[in-house]
Symmetry: C2
Subunit: 280 residues, 2 copies
């Protein structure tokens, strides 16, 4: 099941063609997006997602997304959703038509969560490390590279996932050329050592994770130590657990990295899931 | 004036909405494109453009673009064009609908050339150098970064052009972090020293230029030396001319780089224009 709502407050058929061929979102990947998890009718971390949409749009010099219109579209999707208790809600906001009057294109699309994602939440997954070709300092020095913006130009992220599949895995941990952990193509990397959660800093040119932030908030309240600091790839093998987190995948454990089995983190996963769910 | 032709051999209104909101070209910038110059009804370098579309699609693991269907769409656009003698013909080919049957989306769109481009052809332009954050060797080592593919994920290229405008210029020469010249966001860089044309090698992770290739072909026939080799940014200031070339802009001279005036290359421009036009 899928439900599509537009920024003018109307519903539309998600299979109908609504986008012009000269929309810059299509021709140039020129726009931003967010994907939000909805459970039992309640969107999780809606405000952080909308805030991040604003930040991404600002990085692309786009007009500020109209928050009230997006909130209305979200409500419209949720009010018309009759499918499973969990859904993925995508917000899309493009620069609009090439040579047009500058009016952005926007919509909210609710869709069922892919069975593969549900299975990975339960079973964990194999990942590979892939060089993202960026170095510390680059994001700050070269803001035009849009590192850390959630733009519609995701062809590289998708290509990396195909490369993972070619290597017999299903996910990617991007690294700097120097071997520092960055993020997944559509997720945040979290490493656990004892009672400490660690994630790499956004300043490296990665997306600040909404799910990671929620988990860290919950963990800190429960007495865990949380740290935002660089992680060397080699540290991933000796950690108690490596997790890829995102709105839709929630917390997914990596059981195999670059073909090497990691320590069993099943018990740790249950504990983190408990922490995360305690936020809602 | 604009003319739109689809891969099924039909014409469509270029202002109508024909793209689904779940097309991966829109949601992920997941697709490839080409822009071809047409003069007096004749597309220039059509085969090299179609070959490059094939190469870009292969880099993205997409099905080979259906050449006959694209050629038919090109003919359809040109057969229905009643505008100016020159037009820009864009070919777009996306991965199709998310979760669909894998059928790509494709079309050919003919449009008038922007007045700004025509003016820059005549007057030249000011450019700035911007770090593209890639190093020699990266493209070959990390093919999932799609360096050198003409993908629809062009948000960074567009952001770089906005950065140039903020700096009072209208174009960009991307460089490696080490100061080696790469390309423009939508053009190839060519440096002239005496009777020698130089352009950086595609192996650096840049797009092999169709216009650059045509110009080099013509120049070589006329006794010029042509070289494909790395160019240091510092060399741009002492050269006899720096040019940005692309199908639609043809050969455009850079008169100012990073705020510094370059040697007057107007006479050189005329000579190169003559060489280039002799190909057609």
């Amino acid at each position: 099941m899928r439900v599509l709502a537009l920024l003018d407050g109307t519903l539309a058929d998600p299979e109908s063609s609504l986008i012009r061929i000269d929309d810059l979102g299509l021709l140039r990947g020129d726009g931003v997006f967010e994907t939000i998890l909805v459970v039992d009718g309640k969107p999780r971390e809606l405000t952080p997602h909308l805030d991040r949409l604003d930040r991404s749009a600002a990085m692309l010099d786009m007009p500020t997304p109209p928050r009230a219109a997006f909130e209305r579209a979200v409500e419209l999707v949720l009010g018309n959703w009759t499918g499973s208790s969990e859904l993925a809600l995508k917000l899309v906001y493009t620069r609009g038509v090439e040579g047009g009057d500058g009016t952005p294109t926007g919509f909210a699309l609710g869709a069922a969560i892919a069975p593969k994602v549900l299975q990975q939440r339960a079973d964990g997954l194999a990942a590979v490390t892939l060089d993202r070709g960026i170095e510390p300092g680059l994001a700050e020095r070269a803001p035009w590279l849009l590192l850390g913006a959630k733009s519609l130009s995701y062809a590289v992220n998708m290509a990396a996932l195909r490369e993972a599949e070619r290597r017999g895995a299903s996910e990617v941990v991007f690294t700097t050329s120097g071997g520092s952990v960055l993020e997944g193509p559509t997720s945040t990397a979290i490493l656990v050592r004892g009672r400490t959660l660690v994630t790499p800093p956004a300043a490296l040119g990665i997306l600040p994770g909404t799910t990671q932030a929620a988990l860290f908030r919950a963990a800190e309240r429960q007495g865990w130590t949380v740290r935002v600091e660089p992680i060397a790839v080699d540290d991933l093998y000796s950690a108690d657990g490596l997790f890829l987190v995102s709105s839709v995948r929630k917390i997914t454990r990596v059981h195999t990295l670059d073909g090497k089995q990691l320590p069993d983190s099943s018990a740790l996963l249950s504990e983190l899931q408990g922490l995360y769910e305690s936020e809602y």
